[in-house]
């Protein structure tokens, strides 16, 4: 165990498992938000309030860990994914804000978060989340990436009339291009990380739709309940493996 003098990063290293769980958490967020609002008949507003309060509880737990604990961290990510989706759905469906406006507003909100974060901390590094203040910036940025990813993904699918498969291919290509930039062209790791974090939201949503949607629209017809359960099971399995194997944690930069 590190001594108390060694700063401990409170969020995970960015590895293959990280992106796998993140993608699945995103899909879960989309289908779970739908399931709660419609299948359980809670309605959009009640679901939003309920999930926001559960998220607040999960974040209290995560901040209390003061180090990277896989279940607490990923619980917060899954819940942020759900709440981020609900925030956008509320703005669009209940308040009648257009997807274009929503996309622009969240882009500005995310940029402002990064600007304030950088002004206070002089770094946006995800490898140096040592204090509660930096962690707060980290989670706020993550909430906005989910909201922005939802809005931008829906905007592309609606405005350009693309199906979910084509949308998935498009966002997959953007992520591949950013990966090439990072590995071969010297794209900054932090910038690349946050961009990919935004684009995995629409990619994950398309992937989930592909599995859950009826075959008449070219999906695999698994339905949202089964798809959600499969993803939830896989996330829990990977997190159990991470916890037992103590992988993915990082102690110092």
């Amino acid at each position: 165990m590190p001594t108390s003098r060694t700063p401990i990063n409170r969020v995970p290293q960015v590895t293959v498992e990280f992106w796998l769980i993140k993608l699945m958490a995103v899909t879960m967020g989309e289908t779970a938000a739908d399931f709660l609002a419609v299948n359980l008949g809670l309605g959009l507003t009640a679901t939003s309030l309920l999930m926001a309060s559960i998220l607040a509880g999960a974040l209290v737990l995560q901040f209390a860990q003061k180090r990277y604990v896989p279940w607490a961290y990923w619980l917060a990510v899954v819940l942020i994914s759900i709440v981020g989706t609900l925030v956008t759905d509320n703005l669009v469906d209940n308040l009648g804000v257009s997807l274009l406006t929503t996309t622009i507003v969240f882009t500005v909100a995310l940029a402002a978060t990064f600007a304030v974060w950088f002004a206070y901390e002089k770094t946006l590094s995800i490898h140096a989340i040592f204090t509660a203040k930096r962690e707060a910036f980290y989670w706020l940025a993550i909430l906005f990436t989910f909201a922005l990813g939802t809005a931008a993904g829906d905007l592309v699918a609606e405005q350009f009339g693309l199906g979910y498969l084509a949308t998935g291919v498009l966002f997959g290509m953007i992520i591949a291009s950013l990966a090439i930039g990072y590995f071969f062209l010297g794209l900054d790791a932090i910038l690349g990380f946050w961009l990919v974090y935004i684009f995995t939201r629409p990619l994950g949503a398309s992937f989930g739709d592909l599995l859950s949607q009826p075959a008449q629209y070219g999906g695999l017809g698994l339905g949202t309940t089964i798809t959600s359960l499969v993803f939830l099971g896989t996330i829990i399995a990977i997190i159990a493996w991470l916890t037992v194997g103590r992988r993915g944690a990082v102690t110092a930069p």
């Binding site: 739908d34 419609v38 299948n39 008949g41 699918a157 609606e158 405005q159 350009f160 009339g161 693309l162 199906g163 979910y164 084509a166 291919v169 498009l170 290509m173 953007i174 591949a176 291009s177 950013l178 090439i180 930039g181 062209l185 010297g186 794209l187 900054d188 910038l191 690349g192 961009l195 739709d209 949607q213 009826p214 008449q216 629209y217 999906g219 949202t224």
Partner: protein, 133 residues
């Protein structure tokens, strides 16, 4: 600044390639000048609305409220498939459905309002021509 330019180029390249491919594909299949695709066969939704109307006309608004939930679930399940085909028409029906749902779900539903919103919903569904493959 160099980093931001690099990021923009990295994002723009696949977008351009993808758009180019979509345009080429649209031209190849001559569908580029078919802007308003219709939503296809919506008869399953019309059947539910007809049921709800019959229940409401018979004065059983509680049963109508139960039956219209089937519409809500089916409509939501098909959102991802239907919406991209024609977002404008999808939103028109979705708004009509929201009005009918809230008319039935207030604590004391008004029969006149319920009938109006259900007729409007049915009209919005009937505007769609049957799909021609």
């Amino acid at each position: 600044m160099r980093q931001f330019l690099l990021a923009i180029v990295l994002i723009a390249m696949p977008v351009a390639a993808f758009s180019g491919f979509m345009i080429w594909q649209a031209k190849a299949s001559h569908t580029v000048d078919a802007p308003a695709a219709n939503l296809g066969d919506l008869s399953a939704f019309r059947i539910i609305v007809t049921d709800v109307q019959a229940l409401a006309a018979g004065g059983d608004l509680a049963a109508a409220k139960t039956r219209i939930r089937d519409f809500e679930l089916a409509w939501d399940d098909n959102e991802t498939g239907l919406k991209p085909i024609n977002p404008a028409e999808w939103h028109a029906i979705d708004d009509a459905a929201d009005a009918a749902l809230s008319a039935l779900r207030v604590s004391a539903p008004e029969p006149v309002r319920v009938n109006e919103t259900l007729s409007a919903l049915k009209t919005s569904l009937q505007n769609r021509a049957p799909v021609t493959p």
